[in-house]
Amino acid sequence: MTLAASTISARDSSAPLCAPDAPAASVIARGLSKAYGGNAVLRGLDFLVPEGQFVAIVGRSGCGKSTLLRLIAGLETPDAGRLSVGPTNANPRVSARVMFQEPRLLPWARVLDNVAVGLGADADRADARQRADEALRRVGLADRAGEWPAVLSGGQKQRVALARALVSRPRLLALDEPLGALDALTRIEMQRLQESVWLRERFTAILVTHDVAEAIALADRIVMIEQGVLALDVKVDLPRPRQHGSPEAARLSASILARLLAEDARE
């Protein structure tokens, strides 16, 4: 465990800055602990994310991966440990945006207004509509701006949610299994969209997923949480855009799955 943590710190110190003029947020977590009703979910977890990196967190359900993401996004506070998000350790709600498993669109706001929600306190400003419109164009839904969310398909709703998360140009995007409820084809489509957006904007992305193939398709690095700490930290060194089912991807996927299942067998 300690070995895994030290490798990460070593890599962190040598990590290059991807966008020097507007450095994306980085995450530094030290000895992070969180318990729910006496049940410890995270136990002194160390986690470092260099700026601009796309990290996937995998693990069995209930391992604490969503909890870690919620702590990073500022939705919850840690019981112990130190957590800083962003270059200036600003309030995570300023620099981080979350995409949830459900689209969580406001049913009573048109698609465009839902995207403008992502501007937070800036939503009343004059250029809000223009910025929302542009974000909507980036996810390919500019023609649905005036619709109610209720008439959109599941995939379209998640794309609106992505536009909402991106409209404020966040430095950190926390993705909590945002594609979990989509069908297989829409998932692949959304993965490609997420990748292209990330390649263009180079924010730090933290993706929680139970799907190892999805993690391999998107992430620079995959970490696994086990017993409340990081148990595995693998670099994914495959060229982008990645092919589903390429031999390297399959090999990596097999080794991570073997590790996940080994843990299963131990219990």
Partner: protein, 279 residues
């Protein structure tokens, strides 16, 4: 409570009807709703004309219409309708406004809820019409008596449904709004209030039913003007046509209030799948 149940059924039926596609069909359905009342009127008139129903037992629709014309010419009818309408609206605004405000306060604040909800739930179980003798003691047959009773009657449906609406707003949406940096003000205006609105409208439509019921009773027992008073005068002077006219006017006012609430609902809840026509 029959009022409440029928309002709820009506609500469901209207929602389903609104979802159907064509305008023509909508018109057809609306027409169908009036078929039964019109048929009953025709039957009633026929039975009266044939002498099956005595004029002193139940006057014919034509006789009622004549009475309406007579009272309109004398100015009595418009004046009494206006007085009743004003009383109903004043009671609705005062009682409904307080119910709405308390519902919001108790839905948003744990302290406010803890302080007042138990008391309100106890008071809710007292039939407000049971207070009539007391109200006559306090206010006599002045306007305050009617205002008090109507306001009390409409208070509870609005309070209960506003509270329920605020509490049942999807917590995931609230979490989303918080994580996107909404302050309390924006959270209320853009998430909580719109989310509570469907339930608030159910409360409003219940309240309208209670409003007319209360006003009828109050005006029949203690008033010197209004439709209920007009009906009681009719009884004293053996004018059955005036009594029947008063009952019919209550029915029409009730329907009018409900239709207004429905139109308002359709306008405010146009985002709701139940009120959307599929393209």
């Amino acid at each position: 409570m029959t009022d409440a149940t029928s309002a709820q059924l009506d609500f469901v039926a209207k929602s389903a009807a609104a979802a159907r596609p064509t305008r023509m069909r909508n018109l057809g359905e609306r027409g169908a709703g009036w078929a039964l009342p019109v048929a009953s009127l025709v039957l009633w008139q026929g039975a009266s004309s044939l002498g099956w129903i005595g004029e002193s037992f139940l006057p014919s629709p034509l006789a009622v219409l004549k009475a309406a014309w007579r009272l309109t010419l004398s100015g009595q009818l418009p004046e009494n309708v206006w007085v009743s309408f004003l009383r109903a609206m004043a009671g609705l605004v005062v009682g409904g406004g307080i119910g709405f405000a308390l519902g919001l306060a108790n839905g948003l604040s744990r302290v406010s809820f803890g302080l007042t909800d138990t008391t309100l739930q106890m008071a809710r179980n007292v039939p407000h019409l049971a207070l009539i003798p007391l109200v006559i003691f306090w206010f006599g047959i002045e306007e305050e008596a009617k205002l008090f009773l109507v306001a009390l009657g409409v208070f509870f449906p609005l309070y209960v449904n506003t509270l329920h609406g605020v509490r049942s707003v999807d917590p995931q949406l609230i979490e989303m709004a918080r994580s996107y940096g909404f302050d309390r003000w924006h959270l209320f205006w853009r998430v909580i209030l719109p989310g509570a609105l469907p339930s608030i409208f159910v409360g409003l439509r219940f309240a309208l039913g209670v409003m007319w019921l209360t006003l009828i009773v109050a005006e029949t027992i203690a008033a010197q003007s209004g439709i209920g008073y007009m009906a009681m005068q009719g009884r004293e002077f053996m004018q059955v046509d005036v009594v029947v006219l008063a009952i019919l006017i209550y029915a029409m006012l009730g329907k009018l209030a409900d239709a207004t609430a429905c139109a308002l609902e359709r306008r405010c809840l146009s985002w709701h799948p139940a009120f959307q026509s599929k393209p």
